[in-house]
């Protein structure tokens, strides 16, 4: 078979592009204090190239130049690198298991603290609040919902989403064992739904960067789904250690259902509750120095 003619343009130097990404990451770090150097390279590069397209800078180097010289451009870049994609009750089995197996144990604490790290547009925050409400636990729960993307946090506070999502989310809610209908918790107008703002009453939204910020609460449950998938092994490990140090003994950790802990030494501190659903519990403290 005769091969078709290959495109005529010269082979673009991928190595050159990699250098540009590295310089871009350096600029972000030196110029603005945001460290993306330990994000997984394949996804990071894809997002940087997407920024080149949406900002029409032509090259990554030009993106770097604007990042350094143009006031306000940082926010655009951070939003481009963050991609706050989420769903309500994504993986309903996870939420069902939290409700059936984790909440009864949380119920023994007089005050329950939950840290939702990487909360994106808040879909999972409202999901949690609804389940806690239905389990009769919400009055004594404090949810800390954090992300490093300011505009995502604002969006999360508003709780407004496209109405076309409601169908899937309603199904998810029922599959998660919800005892009403999701429509009881939102009002629909035009093409949008707005979540009942009473669900927010025990939520604190805060900017927290998992790469650079420290422990800030004593949590009984940390929910951090589909965030560590973007981190390289050492950063994943460091973040798990941060969760460990934030959790009370016997506290719970819930990750995304396809995340792997096989390359993170800190995972040894956690005991599986449901391996398939990536729900873990902090085991007894290992002796200092280990």
């Amino acid at each position: 078979m005769k091969p078709d003619g290959r495109p005529a343009e010269s082979v673009p130097d991928v190595a050159l592009e990699d250098i540009e990404v590295e310089l871009f990451v350096r600029a972000l770090q030196l110029g603005h204090g945001y460290d993306f150097s330990q994000y997984s390279p394949a996804s990071l590069k894809r997002r940087v190239l997407q920024l080149v397209q949406t900002q029409q800078t032509g090259t990554i180097s030009e993106l770097t130049a604007r990042l350094l010289h143009e006031a306000g451009f940082l926010q655009t870049v951070l939003e481009g690198l963050s991609v706050p994609v989420s769903e309500m009750f994504r993986d309903p089995d996870v939420f069902r298991t939290l409700r059936e197996q984790v909440f009864p144990l949380l119920a023994s604490y007089p005050q329950i603290n939950i840290w939702q790290a990487g909360c994106a547009h808040g879909q999972e925050v409202y999901s949690l609040a609804i389940l806690l409400e239905e389990a009769g636990l919400y009055e004594r729960t404090q949810i800390y919902a954090t992300d490093f993307n300011e505009s995502a946090l604002r969006h999360a506070q508003e709780g407004i989403y496209p109405a076309k999502e409601a169908q899937l989310w309603s199904r998810n809610y029922l599959a998660a064992g919800g005892s009403h209908t999701l429509a009881d918790y939102y009002s629909a107008r035009y093409e949008l739904i707005k979540l009942d703002q009473r669900l927010r009453r025990n939520v604190i939204f805060a900017n927290h960067n998992l790469v650079t910020d420290e422990v800030f609460c004593e949590a009984h449950l940390v929910l951090c789904r589909n965030v560590l998938i973007y981190f390289s092994d050492p950063l994943q490990d460091r973040t798990l250690a941060l969760f460990r140090d934030s959790l009370v003994r016997g506290g719970f950790l819930c990750l995304g259902t396809r995340e792997s802990l096989d390359f993170a030494p800190s995972a040894a501190d956690f005991v599986p509750v449901d391996t398939g659903l990536r729900i873990y519990r902090l085991g007894p403290r290992t002796p200092a120095g280990e």
Partner: protein, 181 residues
């Protein structure tokens, strides 16, 4: 390897005709719409000459194994030739997207990569196949007239061209020739 509508039966017959001695890792991105990747692996394993497993986050690609992209995530190959997942927005209405897999794999494997586009009803894979060719890899596209759904292979041919344009039955024998020493 990427496929969509009609992809399941195409994959079954392709995997059945592969040489069991193939030393390379195979990665499959198929928009089946089924959420259950275990089931898909089991189904394909019933036909495949090579073991079929789910592509797992952070795991290296295994020689002589067929890796299946889990649904709901993009599957990427990192420069160190391990898998990564992302929940970035859909690309060409798909997650997993063949473009995302092909683009990243092309960078990791350069001219040692073979990309295959089979039957499908959308344009996913066309961009990625162009990347594979640009970086020196080999592009194989199923003859659209032979495909259950011709849109995807046709889009790949239009956008990226192909080094080999073949009916399904001829693709496994070509892979065997290309991949065996």
């Amino acid at each position: 390897m990427g496929c969509s509508a009609g992809g399941l039966s195409a994959l079954e017959s392709l995997l059945a005709a592969l040489d069991p001695q193939l030393p390379q890792p195979l990665v499959v991105c198929c928009h089946t719409g089924s959420a259950n990747v275990d089931l898909l692996c089991e189904l394909l394993a019933g036909h495949s000459t090579l073991p079929v497993i789910e592509a797992r986050e952070r795991e290296p690609l295994q020689p002589g194994m067929v890796h299946i992209a889990p649904s709901g995530y993009h599957l990427l190959v990192e420069p160190d030739r391990r898998f990564a997942l992302s929940v970035d927005p859909r690309v060409s209405f798909a997650r997993p997207s063949i473009d995302v897999l092909f683009d990243s794999a092309a960078e990791a494997y350069r001219d040692t990569l073979v990309g295959v586009v089979l039957t499908g009803a959308n344009k996913d894979g066309a961009e990625g196949l162009a990347t594979i060719r640009r970086l020196g890899g080999v592009a194989i596209v199923q003859e659209p007239g032979d495909a259950e759904s011709p849109v995807m292979p046709q889009a790949a041919l239009d956008h990226a061209g192909a080094d080999h344009r073949l009916p399904l039955a001829a693709i496994a024998p070509l892979l065997n020739r290309l991949c065996l020493p």
